[in-house]
Point group: C2
Chain length 306, copies 2
């Protein structure tokens, strides 16, 4: 059994490759929920949904979020009523949020709802939220503290970032099964997700980091940074704000206490020595995940390292 | 200023005619909310919405509910997730329920939200819910007490009806403006809506019936029953269950304590004597409201009686 820690868009590409290279029943995928937010009274879980849609084969590969061929009728009409429309909720996607919110209002936990949704879509891999408790990634900017979605979607990462915090994380508990999965895993994979706001919140849930440190199974990461720049998203800005070096070496340092091996880009081969000094192996290869072929190949290499 | 009491589909036809025959700014429309219900955590107000969509010119004339050209993508996907789909929520229609529910969760009253929505759609007539308090029409059947939507939509009026009750009505208050409107009206119009479950709940809100009795302005009704059968809907079954005669005379009796004049169908002219004995005038004419022309003509006749 393999445990995968992941955020949304970037991580989903490797998750897709892994699900095609190994029996999905052997995968337990732990998702970041720090980006979750409430809009129109609906609980939106962007990373859980991106992973779910990807594994169901209904994701929108061109956008990197949402469901393919989705329409935006509800959002258009919410706009007519004076509602906010900057978070692009598609109609099919909205059904997920409506269903999730209704079940949660009836007392179901986020992990129970996530299980029901993925089973409805025929997904065999287990998908777990990092926590059933509310943890909210907040970005400190010169104009004040804002939500991650405000930073990431509404203002498209335009704000200067002073710091990032995970509100509520101290009192959060890992979702049922997360710690057990890490303890019993034959291997743990860290997706090429943003180390600050995608993997960071998962590691900040009390107990998760310790379980990784104590794991006897190898922990393999894939660098989200190639040659000093993130493959996608605002990792650069966020890593710099947190005082991290924006490179595969910076990524290795962030995970130094539990990582066995980091897959880095061929052009970052010169960083192998520095990573080695942290007690982490590295393997340089092409780690771009643009095509399905790339995703399967990198997944295959990661699995070979386990 | 004219006050209109109405339910959904049937009443909306006369409301449409009235809005075309008189300056809509002079209309205050009081809607039944006994059919309101919560589905997927969303507050659905079928009659308020049918009236709102009709006045905005976006209603679906073929169905008698919902918004024209609407799609059902969200509902289809809710079905994939194992959710209930018997209540046909269109995508455009859903935006109304999502917006309303979000604003109500923020503390806005149903009447405040109704005002915002109708203004967003450019409606000049005032639309008021009968009450901001929750009043729920319940149908007593041999299989137990069920909601009105369960009776009306889910099982298509198949259940035998033993009685109807309006849960919560004793402690409800008329929405702000309802009593004042009736007191200050130059005329009150009762739409050809079901007297049991459309007009009945409005009259049951404490203070409304008394205000109608004390009104010095004429109160004009249009019969929803033609020749012993309702024009549409389950009025027949519901009236019979409540011990009412299923005829224009039965309608007159239900409103005898405050009605000035009842417009009845030409073929019901023979009931004029019985209605007269109740102290109510009647006027026999063609009261079918199939075409816009019919609706305007009947509206014109009602306004002439005021």
């Amino acid at each position: 059994m393999i445990v995968i820690l992941t955020g949304g868009t970037g991580g989903a590409k490797l998750v897709q490759g892994l699900s095609l290279e190994i029996d999905p029943k052997e995968l337990i995928i732990v998702c970041n929920t720090g980006d979750d937010f409430i809009t129109y009274g609906l609980h939106v879980s962007p990373d859980l949904d991106t992973i779910t849609y990807t594994l169901a084969g209904i994701h929108d590969p061109s956008k990197g979020w949402g469901i393919k061929d989705d329409t935006f009728t509800v959002l258009e009409w919410l706009g007519k009523y004076g509602g906010e429309t900057w978070f692009r909720l598609g109609d099919r996607d909205l059904a997920t949020h409506i269903r999730r919110s209704a079940l949660m209002r009836q007392g179901r936990s986020l992990s129970q709802v996530t299980a029901r949704i993925r089973k409805s879509l025929g997904i065999e891999a287990v998908i777990l939220p990092m926590s059933d408790d509310r943890v909210e990634t907040r970005v400190i900017t010169p104009r004040g503290e804002i939500s991650f979605q405000d930073f990431f979607v509404k203002t498209r990462c335009a704000d200067e970032v002073e710091a990032v915090l995970f509100a509520g994380v101290e009192n959060s508990r890992p979702a049922p099964g997360v710690i057990e999965a890490i303890r019993e895993a034959n291997g743990v994979i860290l997706c090429p997700s943003n180390p600050v706001t995608s993997i960071g919140p998962i590691l900040a849930v009390p107990g998760v980091r310790t379980a990784l440190r104590e794991s006897r199974a190898p922990v393999i990461g894939v660098s989200p940074i190639i040659g000093g720049a993130p493959v996608s998203g605002p990792a650069h800005k966020l890593m710099a704000a947190m005082g991290m070096e924006v490179s595969a070496l910076g990524v290795a340092k962030a995970y130094a206490d539990f990582l066995s091996t980091l897959l880095i880009a061929t052009e970052d081969g010169n960083l192998a020595g520095g990573i080695r000094e942290l007690g982490i192996n590295s393997s340089a290869t092409s780690i771009r995940l643009d095509s399905i072929m790339d995703r399967r190949r990198v997944a295959h290499e990661v699995l070979a390292l386990l």
